[in-house]
């Protein structure tokens, strides 16, 4: 089975929008799906893994380039 990748872009969102959007996306995802979040606020980059941690989910990849970051969380 191939896990689905669900993309969510929070680039233009500010507190608490990125956390809310990530949570809503994770709620709708199926177990195994990968939620890929992109954005540019450094505070969200720090806090989105806290949402994952609180949910007992794992951040499987984090990348940053030219001030933009990408975080992958496995549902």
């Amino acid at each position: 089975m191939v896990n689905k990748v669900i993309k969510v872009d929070v680039t233009d969102k500010t507190c608490p929008g990125p956390l809310v959007e990530v949570r809503k996306t994770l709620n709708k995802a199926s177990p195994g799906d990968i939620v890929e979040v992109t954005g540019k606020h450094s505070v969200s980059k720090k806090e989105i893994p806290m949402v994952a941690e609180g949910m007992g989910l794992e951040v499987i990849d984090t990348q940053e380039k030219d001030g933009k970051w990408k975080i992958q969380i496995q549902r």
Partner: protein, 145 residues
């Protein structure tokens, strides 16, 4: 009904309770940002709207509160510039993530507010101090705003 904010791997479900006493727009932003943040982080959340806070739950009154320290136009433009969501969006997200809202019945009596005047679709329960304490006694975060 399907749980809008299902517990996925949370070890323990903690709760945030907030008394919204102020009807000031800036304070309402704080309250809803905290409520939404708590839900996003996997907590439960209950907001108890009382006194001036309850006025904001009247139909079309959500963003009609006073603002301290700044003019409304300045406040609105600063928030817009920073891309902050509107109160309408924040409260819609709050409900979508399963946040609970209690309206204070005592305030309704004192201020002569009728249920029909309130945004009833936002309100989960009408109650007084007993209802609030019942919710708050086991909460981890409890705020008065």
């Amino acid at each position: 009904m399907e749980n809008p904010n299902p517990k996925i791997g949370e070890k323990m479900v903690d709760k945030t309770t907030i008394i919204v006493h102020s009807g000031d727009t800036d304070k309402l932003y704080s309250a809803l940002i905290i409520g939404d943040g708590a839900l996003a982080m996997g907590m439960e959340s209950t907001m108890f709207f009382t006194f001036w806070g309850l006025e904001r739950l009247k139909k079309d009154e959500l963003d009609k509160g006073p603002i301290s320290k700044m003019s409304k136009s300045m406040f609105d433009s600063q928030l817009k510039k920073a891309n902050v969501d509107t109160l309408e969006k924040l409260i819609t997200d709050y409900k979508e993530l399963g946040g609970k809202i209690i309206a204070c019945e005592m305030t309704m009596e004192i201020m002569g507010i009728k249920k029909e005047e309130l945004n009833q679709e936002l309100i989960d329960e009408y109650g007084a101090i007993g209802t609030y304490i019942h919710e708050a006694r086991e909460s981890k975060i409890n705020l008065f705003i």
